[in-house]
Structure formats: C-alpha cells, structure tokens
Symmetry: C2
C-alpha cells in the first residue's frame, strides 16, 4: 500500500450541450468548480465528514455525487474498508447548468485516486465519475463529467460505453457565462423536452455538429460561428430562462461566435474569438439582468485544458 498523503483536489465547472451536441458535447471552464479533501480517517471506511458552503446536501455516500464516485473507486479496488475522511468544498451552487454535480463527482473520483497513489489513469476514472453524476439526475451521460475530468472540448461518441473524443481547442477562444439566479432543476429541464424530433431537425443539427467538430480541427472561427445553431433543444428550453433571447441578441450583436443555454440552464454561455468581445458581452449581460432586477454572476474564461487537478 502506497503512503497516504492528505490532499485537496479541484474539478472545474463545465458547459454541456454547447448548442449542437445535446448530451454528447461539453467543455470545461476555469476558476469555477468544486473541491474535495481526502485524509486518513479514524473509523472504518470512507466517511463524508463535512460539506462546506452548502448545508443542504446529503453526507450519505449514496446520495452525494462526490461521495458516491469516490466510493465506487474504492470498491473497485477492494479498499472500501480503509478509514478515509473526506470533506467537500461545494463552491458551486446547485442547478446552475454549469455541471455542479459533475464537478463534485469528478473531484470525488479524481481525489480518491490521487490519495490512493493513482491506481487508475485519469481516463480510467471516467466511469466512476459518471456513476457519481448519475445520482444527481438519474441518467448516465458524461457530457459534463468528461470535460470536468479531462479538460478541453469533449465529444461523447457513446454514453453507454463512455467512448469519447478529446477535441482540439482554437487558441484565443473565450467563453462568457452568465448565471441568472433563478432555479431550474435538471430533471424539470429534461422533462420539458419532446422525446421525438423531426428528421429534418436531425439533419440540420447533425450538419452543424459535424461542422463544429471540423471547425475545431481546422481552427476555423467562421465555420464555428456558422455551426453554433441549435434547432432542437434551445427553442424548447428558452422559455424557462428569463430574457434568454435578449441575452442571446446581445451576444450575437457584440460579435459572439455563438450563444446558447449551458447544460439544462439557466446559465447561458457565449463563445468568443477574443477577450474584447467577451468583455463587452459580459458587461452588457450584467447590465441587462441587473436592470431587470435579476441577481446574476458573469464569468469570462478560457477553455480549461487541464480538467481536474490537485489544488
């Protein structure tokens, strides 16, 4: 058994769907994310001792995405009896659409793996983190978990097998994110969606997804811009988010490459080709929501390239 050293890890927030990749596309952002601390415990097994900043979350390992992901790693190694003390620093609010539950799950899986002396590669942790995330919304999909763990843009070819592709990043690409502080549960935001779509919508959206992937490989901002158009999910969810179309117009008018709902919302993201565009959008977004009396956070970020790290 390798020597156990206490440590704290950070897993970033992420933007899923990204207009054209519902349930299969996401990217990680900087600065925002959750942290988990692991150290030796004095009771048998893993114990989630405390959760900072969010008293509402359960410390039951089977009901906490970070705890469950860590537990699954331990079980796979036959180490579930090892006395380990875990603390979750829940820096992110729940229900923002920025992969809060995924960040916790990733931090749990990544942190316990580092604590144990790295028995798994980072890539091998994806199923554990995805099982953790599954606790939050009931479905098994890795479009938040994979970018939070691995960084960059990630395309999930197949959620069942977690076969994914890490996509290249275009230098200079910036994300602007606004979180209007209203509550949408992922579960509700999923339920609003029609389980069917038209073949024409599928054709349109697929063309845009394929072009989006090609644009990243070709470092082609113009193609990226033309491809960032969601004809399936956004029209159904926009009504859940106050002033969504005003926010989107601001982004496009200021030169954003694209703007859509982050994950299940209510956060909204825009992708921009440089920081000046991003700052103009951030400022106008803040003003709009503040003028309307809606509390909000606005954040500008590069695309996070590292994913989960020791903090």
């Amino acid at each position: 058994m390798s020597k156990r050293v206490p440590l704290r890890v950070f897993a970033p927030a992420s933007v899923a769907n990204v207009a054209v990749g519902y349930d299969i596309l996401g990217f990680a952002i900087n600065d925002i994310g959750d942290e988990v601390m692991f150290k030796a415990g004095n009771e048998k097994g893993l114990i989630l001792k405390s959760i900072h900043y969010n008293k509402g979350l359960s410390k039951d390992l089977y009901k906490n995405t970070a705890g469950f992901a860590a537990l699954k790693v331990l079980e796979s190694l036959g180490l579930e009896d090892e006395p380990i003390h875990m603390e979750l620093y829940k820096n992110m609010d729940i229900g923002t659409g920025l992969g809060s539950s995924a960040a916790s799950a990733v931090a749990g899986a990544f942190g316990i793996n580092e604590y144990l002396g790295r028995p798994y590669t980072k890539q091998e942790l994806l199923p554990f983190a995805t099982q953790g995330e599954q606790i939050a919304d009931g479905s098994y999909h890795a479009d938040n978990v994979a970018p939070s763990l691995l960084g960059s843009f990630i395309l999930i070819r197949d959620n069942a097998t977690l076969d994914y592709v890490k996509l290249p990043i275009i230098k200079g690409l910036k994300a602007v994110i606004v979180h209007p502080k209203i509550k949408i549960l992922t579960r509700d935001s999923r339920n609003i969606l029609s389980p069917q779509l038209k073949l024409d919508q599928h054709i349109q959206q697929s063309g845009n997804l394929g072009a989006f992937v090609a644009a990243l490989f070709r470092t082609d901002f113009e193609l990226l811009k033309r491809s960032l158009d969601d004809c399936i999910i956004e029209p159904q969810r926009a009504e859940l988010i106050p002033y969504f179309y005003d926010i989107k117009s601001i982004a496009i008018d200021n030169g954003a490459l694209g703007c859509s709902i982050s994950g299940a919302g209510p956060s909204i993201f825009a992708l921009c080709m440089n920081n000046i565009v991003a700052e103009n959008i951030a400022e106008s977004w803040k003003k709009l929501y503040s003028d309307k009396g809606i509390e909000n956070n606005v954040h500008i970020s590069d695309i996070n390239t590292e994913g989960a790290i020791i903090s």
Copy 2:
C-alpha cells in the same frame, strides 16, 4: 468571349449518407461516373443532342439533370442563346444508389463551365449542379453532388445554403461497393422513412457523426470503425435490399471498418483500411449474390480526391 474548344468531362459516382450522415455526408469513388461532351452547335441555345447507353432518359433540358445544370450555368451568365451541342454519356445505371443523377448534373455544370473558359471556380458550381440533381428526386441536397464535384469526403453543414466542409482522407482507406441489380427509386426509398425519430436516436447518431468527422482528422481507423453505425436510416431501408444483413455480416467478419447502404440503395458500401480486406469482401459479396441468382456488380475504389475532371 474566350475561344470555345470542344471537350468531354467526367464526374464520378458517389456514396451518400455513409451510415451516419443522412443527407449531409458523402464521398466520391473512382472509375465509375458519367461523362458529358460539349462543342459548338449550329442552332441557337443549348441542345442535348444525344444520350448514349441509356435511351430512356429525356433530352429535354428541363427534365435531364445534366442538361438542367448546364442550362442554369448558361442562364446565370446570360449565355443561354449561344449555340452549344451537348452529348451525355450515361455510363451509370439509374437508381443504383451511387449518385447517378448527381454525377450527370455535376458533369453538366462542370463541363459547360470548362467549355466557357471557366467563368466560375469549381466551388461556385455547386448550386448549379445541386439544382440539376434536384430534378431527379425533388429535394435540394448536395450529399452526392458535392463529393462528385469536389472529391473526397464532404460534409454538408447546411443544404439550404450549400455550406460544406471538405474532410480529410485517411491514406489507404478503400471502399468496396456492390450493386445488386434490383430497382429502388430514390423517391420510394425516401418515402419509406419515418418523418420522426426519437431524441435518443438523434443523440446516438450525432455522437457517431461527430466521432466520424474527428476520426478523419485524427487518421484514427479504430474510432472510424466504432463510429460507423446507423441507428436511424439503415434499419428502415434494409428490408428493401435482398440479403442486406448477410452482406453486412460478410463485411464486418472480414474486417471492414463499417458497412451500410449507399445513398437510397440498393448499392451497399463497406469502408476498409487496406486492399486485402477490400478484396476479400468483394469476392465474398459477389459469391453471395451470384449464388442467390442476383445479378450484381462489385467495385473496389480509393476515395476519389479530384471530383469532376476533363476526360
């Protein structure tokens, strides 16, 4: 006016849909295709003088994909009165699923443009060729026309604007194609398709399309293989093609990267990572259809990189 020199052009056959890109993905193949000859005429306007090898096709410019595409180019230049004599060498059968009408349309547009001294770039001919193709099946889509004109794998981001992306080719990639000589009209093959699909199917197919595009950029045969799986169109059309699933099993068992219906069928294609695999599949396919008493043509090809050429 530039000097007119008689010429003959060739436009290749193509495989559309390619399992994961219904109406938006196609590639061109070698050796099979249609030809059009242009020379000065002795009557006012463009005249489609003769059609070789297929007496059933109309010589009316408004009912012939090659003639209509050429006419559209002439009209756009105000040259519709110039006396031009056109002959179509219809080498391909109709209704094979190998882009026969598209090859004619491309040869018409490309040929007249060359004859006129190249007023348009090859890329600029895409709308004219697509209008020609539209005569054949009524819908405006470029997944056969674009690869026939430009070569390689082409992804159509948006059929309405003909915004496309030329995708890279992996060296060594081979296509095997079998045409069982039964008749399916594209129109019928379209009508069999449900106009709706499940959101889950869309997610699955999109993941595969995105991964397919990434695989070409990464020259990743394994990813290409995992991505070539059609959960939407193939299951609906397979019943139109005799022994489709036997043919597919032969391809996969022999190591094909993937196998599905070419365009609207009945032709079937397999992609292979080298010529030995391709030859084994070709031989077994020929044997199966011949044993069952179904007349057939089998063809092995590199991915055509040039598209339409002067022949």
